[in-house]
Symmetry: C2
Subunit: 180 residues, 2 copies
């Protein structure tokens, strides 16, 4: 089946800090036209950091869209010119004060592909060393650790809604199971 949509016009609606919004006109496979709202995003990274006692390191922070404090794995937007692995190491260090000697790539995550091109690169980090936390100015983050098995139960019980956290932790858990 031909499914391709072809851009025939459009405009940028908003060019912000995180959000770059476009409204494009496209032709559909049946020849009709449609409007596609697209948010362009610079991409991000997230890290499942697990120490030798099988603790996972989490960050709690206020997320304005939900007006609530959310538990997530360390994560953040990629800086310009940075590779995903460099970004992962930087965000982990800034948010938790951890330096990891071993990284395993867990793949890409498309957060909401119908209207958002955000890609999050996921990593499992092990062989951890603790230095000091170095948060961004105006970033308010609390770090906590919990046994991986207990955190997987929280995910399975629906208590951890964040998409990158659910996906990356379950992939890390299954990956470690299959190697043990």
């Amino acid at each position: 089946m031909d499914m391709k949509e072809t851009r025939i016009g459009g405009e940028q609606i908003y060019d912000g800090i995180i959000v770059h919004l476009y409204k494009d006109d496209v032709t559909l496979p049946n020849g009709k036209t449609a409007v596609r709202e697209v948010i362009r995003h610079q991409g991000a990274v997230c890290v499942v950091a697990i120490d030798n006692e099988e603790n996972i390191y989490l960050v709690k922070q206020f997320r304005y869209p939900f007006n609530d404090i959310i538990t997530e794995i360390p994560a953040g937007k990629l800086d310009a010119g940075e590779t995903p692995l460099e970004g992962a190491a930087r965000e982990l260090r800034e948010e938790t004060g951890i330096v990891a000697n071993n990284y395993l790539y867990l793949g890409e995550l498309y957060t909401s592909p119908a209207f958002l091109d955000e890609v999050i690169h996921m990593y499992l980090a092990t062989d951890l060393t603790f230095v000091e936390q170095d948060p961004d100015e105006d970033e308010f983050v609390e770090v906590e650790k919990i046994k991986l098995n207990d955190f997987v139960k929280e995910i399975m019980n629906g208590k951890i809604p964040d998409s990158k956290t659910q996906t990356a932790v379950l992939k890390a858990y299954l990956s470690l199971q299959s190697n043990s």
Copy 2:
């Protein structure tokens, strides 16, 4: 630690079909002010549908933000006034022609909580009956089935980037494992 951010002003930037974009001014816990870009979304549902032979049903569709055909589980936006379970049953029927007699709730997914309030409700559907597909006009979707174990391997190998698909399928897989 006080982490709350309080809205002190702002404006709606764009009121579209899917995307409703706001630019708010907030006060931070340290008294400084910051800008928060927020996309408000009506919410969505997704369904892991598994038949008695342990096949999972997938949909392939063109996703304009990636200019590519993406493999996902059946999913869609909630209609006004619809419960998540009603939306899940409707989307599954429309996209695959499947009616399920048994639904298990797999929890919520926040796709990108830093700037987007989208919540996807995830379900595992079993005891399937096949009626006829009833896609939305102008929706071009191909359905395929694959053994659940093989699809989990594809997810673990990084071949399935969609966030709701990775999360919901891994949760369904672990949930079925613990019950068998």
